[in-house]
Symmetry: C2
Subunit: 231 residues, 2 copies
């Protein structure tokens, strides 16, 4: 029997994030034998999500050891991270030596702003997909994109698929399958509207229209970050 | 245009729970226009999940208003709730007047211990399915089971499907579809092992064997709770 790898995973927690971007992958990584999972932010005070759920970081940036897997989730609070020098420095420092540099949802835009996706194929939440190229990444319209040691997932719930794929790649399919069985991940959505390809067109248009102002701001911030990188 | 209903959802948070049982439905309910979501426990001190993630309750039992939707998630900490007088009293009190009494994963066993599933069809995590009848419930091997105002979901990730189904039922399919699109819930598990029906038989057997001691204890507690109820 081969020894299981022993890896440290760090999930970035930040104000106004979408908590399911983090809690989905957390559940998978924390069940992986040999994985130690840290939830990391500037301090260890509770951090509140975009929808009001407060989570407690397990570790501050300052105390964080070198991570094997760095993972940045997304959500509206991502916009504020795009020019946050402390966050970008932490990601650059960790990203330089991490075995895998990963994201869920619009977390990929933050990796991009840190210069960590230049020339890498990547994905993000469907509504922000057109912003990846502003940061030097090569957008790929898939739920999970693996390019060398960069692994990016699509919007929110894609984080569960993403984490199972990462565990399968590193620890082997049997380990990932065991976790899938534990968490009864045999999805059966009662509707079929989870992507613009399958949702009613009128719903997609309404969703885009409702988010337009925020997406314009998000895009302007991505453009600015891209210019600073020379992307 | 019809006015949207305005509902209060209460998700029970408790020590050693499986956090994704709660955080999946939270993400869905918190995005539902007209829904106010409370995360409720005895006190408002942070509560740590079975895998080490600490979440902060938004409300104590004492401060909690009558809920329209009561939801009990599961996880190993469920066992300690089965004879916790304070928790069972809270659930009975809320359950008597709630519009919907619901659960995810082994949360249904706690509802059962509170006497809230007697004579109701219900589901739970696949590994504990045989315990439902000990508590007077009628086990149904489905991912989401609706019987009058009782709505129960299967293990862990079933909570996302469950919450979308609840929102679709109460607020209409368009509201649920809009949330499904926001959270890009277009699942694509990289493996097909999410249920004993699809997982390799050897994996199912290994998983059952690894959990046997804990499941024996869980079952003994369900039996005791059932006897107290006269179920």
């Amino acid at each position: 029997m081969t020894a299981s790898p022993s890896l440290t995973v760090g999930l970035l927690l930040f104000p106004n994030m979408t908590q399911l971007d983090l809690t989905g992958p957390y559940e998978v990584f924390a069940r992986t034998p040999g994985c130690t999972v840290h939830v990391v932010w500037k301090t260890t005070d509770p951090v509140t999500s975009d929808r009001g759920l407060a989570l407690v970081p397990t570790m501050s940036f300052a105390a964080c050891p070198q991570l094997d897997i760095l993972c940045v989730p997304g959500g509206p609070g991502q916009v504020a991270l795009m020019d946050d020098a402390e966050v970008l420095a932490f990601l650059r420092h960790q990203g330089a030596a991490a075995r895998y540099v990963t994201s869920v949802c619009t977390g990929s835009l933050v990796l991009g702003a840190a210069g960590l996706l230049k020339g890498y194929r990547a994905t993000t939440h469907w509504m922000s997909h057109d912003q990846l190229s502003l940061l030097g990444a090569i957008p790929v319209d898939e739920r999970i994109v693996i390019d060398r040691n960069r692994i990016t997932g699509g919007g929110v719930t894609a984080g569960i698929d993403f984490a199972l794929a990462v565990v399968g790649k590193i620890f082997g399919p049997e380990t990932a399958q065991a976790i899938q069985l534990q968490i009864e991940y045999n999805p059966a959505p009662p509707f079929n509207a989870g992507h613009p390809r399958t949702a009613p067109a009128v719903l997609v248009e309404k969703t885009r229209a409702g988010a337009r102002l925020f997406q314009d701001r998000r895009r302007a911030v991505s453009e600015k970050a891209g210019k600073l990188l020379g992307a």
